[in-house]
Amino acid sequence: MKREPVLRVVGKLLIPYMLMFALYVQFHGDFGPGGGFQAGVIAAASIIFYALIFGLPAARRLVPDVVVETMVALGPLIYLGVGVAGLALGGNFLDYFVLDRDPVAGQHRGIFWVEIGVLVTVSGVMLKIFYMFAGHRRP
């Protein structure tokens, strides 16, 4: 569909805002509906949208498979890293209270990084699934 000018223009217009909206959903998760999972899906959807218009090879150049697989693995590590940080600072595993001098601020900090981990891994997994299905050739 690369030749359709309407799609290309609309896509180019929308994709930056989709990514922006993903970040909004991510960071607004503290105050309203949202959070890492939804944001990850929206971010992955913008790349999938790009792939639908410009083709899978173009999307794979934009976000290579290695990056996707790294994202899948990196997310849980960020999450676990927050847990281990709690341990290192003298609390229990996944203890957010000790992450800042003020326990409430510590809770904010802990959940912030946990949600970053979720964002990374969810968008990675979404793209991985899309790449695998879209790249599947009939034998």
């Binding site: 697989e69 790294t70 693995a73 990196l74 590590l77 676990l80 847990g83 229990n92 595993f93 996944l94």
Partner: protein, 493 residues
């Protein structure tokens, strides 16, 4: 400082190893990391078991949220025993996997196998360590999803179908479990197992509680392959890669039995489950059916791996029979057999993996004269087979002996006789291997002389040795099981 966090670390370290292995993208580093993580889990489990024996129940508050609000990890005599079993098998299978996986999987999948193995180990350990009913479900899903992947890696195309069958049945089982937990949550308003037990002591026996009991029983019976819900098991074990079969056969169903015990005795209470409801009668009936039918079916299998898969269904019958006896000795027998059957089946499937490596499969037609081609492997299978039968001097004997004692004490003389009689069927199917390996002449399909590599033989023989060690020294197994049984039935050990 590390010691007090062991209840969390025993799960977290294998869990963290999995994404690290994916990041490293190297088979050798992945294997080393998986081995290190499983060794750490084994050491941590031993330390936890020692601590539980010394100081009693360990409670660990995740995120420093006190239970029942936060998630609690709770290690007692029963869960510590299971942690030792699961992590020990993990630590034995991990070094074995290096050569076995290299022979059975395409190269680009090696590091992924090690990652998924770590996930599976973390899931099983998590199910055992956690004291939160919903957390059990989460870890059950982690372990099960990892198992579906591991089984599907088998080089036989039928592995895919076996994995899919297990996926459908396993998901139904997990769904039933979570429906049961949901009902309990409605009644008690809590997900913490200890808190749930306390609240149910007041209003147990109401209809939603009974429904929850039914859902959880059926769901977990699917997971632990209680007859007639065992249909996923033979194919899954037969077609999975050798290392996977050994790991799953020795741990997966055992952990499900553990969760069932946890719910029967901690949450619902022995009074409701064993005295008010006909659960013991149902369990005994199904166990007998499992033992007799699966042992007989095992006799007619054309493949060694499949034969021992059916034998696993029968052996699970002995475990649930012990639970059904509803006495302290019966429960002791069930818990002891969890361990003893775990190491025996682990040894058998590891050795069969060696045969699969050298002969390209474990069908009986390839086993003729194997005693001469692979003397150590054949001897190992025969010795572990003795433990499976329950010959005195082996671990299997200890569990059968406690089971027979338990049956007699509960007044079921005929059950004691049945246990002995069905062991004869085990003699028959183990004899099929002995006959093929030692009494038949080798032919063209027998593999050329030569053993499996040392890195596969050593872990297998370690478990064969354990079958005999725990046949003589029962201070760890029987004593731990007795403490666990006393804990479950409430009262002094």
């Amino acid at each position: 400082m590390i010691a007090e966090h062991l209840p969390a670390l025993v799960v977290v370290v294998p869990l963290a190893a999995a994404p690290l292995i994916v990041l490293l993208r190297s088979a050798a580093l992945g294997w080393a990391l998986a081995f290190a993580a499983s060794l750490f889990a084994f050491g941590a489990s031993l330390a936890l078991a020692a601590e539980v024996a010394r100081a009693g129940v360990i409670s660990y508050h995740l995120g420093s949220w006190p239970p029942p609000w936060g998630i609690e990890y709770r290690i007692d005599a029963l869960s510590a025993f299971l942690l030792v079993l699961v992590s020990a098998i993990g630590a034995v299978v991990a070094p074995y996997a290096w050569r076995s996986i290299a022979a059975e999987l395409p190269r680009e999948q090696h590091y992924l196998y090690h990652a998924v193995f770590c996930l599976c180990l973390a899931g099983l350990l998590g199910m055992t360590a956690t004291g939160d009913a919903f957390n059990v479900f989460v870890f059950m899903e982690i372990a099960s999803l990892a198992m579906y992947v591991l089984i599907a890696l088998g080089r036989d195309r039928r592995a895919l179908l076996a994995s899919f069958q297990y996926l459908i049945l396993g998901t139904i089982g997990a769904t039933f479990y979570v429906v049961g937990v949901g009902l309990l949550y409605l009644v008690t308003g809590t997900l913490n197992i200890a808190d749930m037990a306390e609240r149910l002591a007041h209003d147990g026996g109401t209809r939603p509680v009974l429904a929850a009991l039914a859902f959880i029983t059926v769901g977990l019976s699917l997971k632990l392959a209680l007859f007639p819900l065992h249909l996923w098991l033979p194919n899954a074990y037969a077609y999975a890669p050798s290392a996977v079969t050994a790991f799953l056969a020795a741990t997966a169903t055992k952990v499900s039995v553990y969760v069932l015990l946890r719910f029967y005795f901690t949450v619902f209470g022995a009074g409701l489950v064993l005295e008010t409801l006909p659960v013991p009668e149902i369990l005994i009936g199904l166990s007998i059916a499992a033992i007799v039918s699966a042992s007989l079916v095992a006799l007619w299998q054309a493949d060694l791996k499949r034969m021992f898969a059916y034998s696993s269904v029968a052996q699970i019958g002995y475990i649930t029979l012990g639970i059904g006896l509803a006495t302290r000795d019966g429960l002791t027998a069930a818990v002891v057999h969890l361990f003893n059957h775990g190491i025996t089946k682990g040894a058998l499937f590891l050795l069969i993996g060696g045969i699969a490596l050298r002969a390209g499969g474990a069908g009986f037609e390839r086993l003729r004269g194997l005693g001469r081609a692979m003397p150590l492997t054949s001897l190992g299978i025969t010795l572990a087979g003795l433990s499976l039968i329950g010959v005195p001097g082996t671990a299997g004997f200890i569990s059968k002996w406690t089971l027979v004692l338990g049956a007699i004490e509960a007044g079921y003389w005929w059950l004691a006789a049945l246990v002995v009689l069905t062991s004869l069927i085990a003699v028959a199917y183990v004899w099929r291997f002995v006959e093929a390996a030692y009494l038949q002449a080798p032919d063209a399909r027998t593999p050329p002389a030569g053993e499996a590599p040392f890195s596969m033989l050593a872990p297998s023989w370690l478990l064969v040795g354990a079958c005999f060690w725990f046949g003589f020294d029962t201070s760890f197994t029987v004593e731990s099981a007795r403490r666990a049984a006393a804990l479950m039935l409430g009262g002094a050990p």
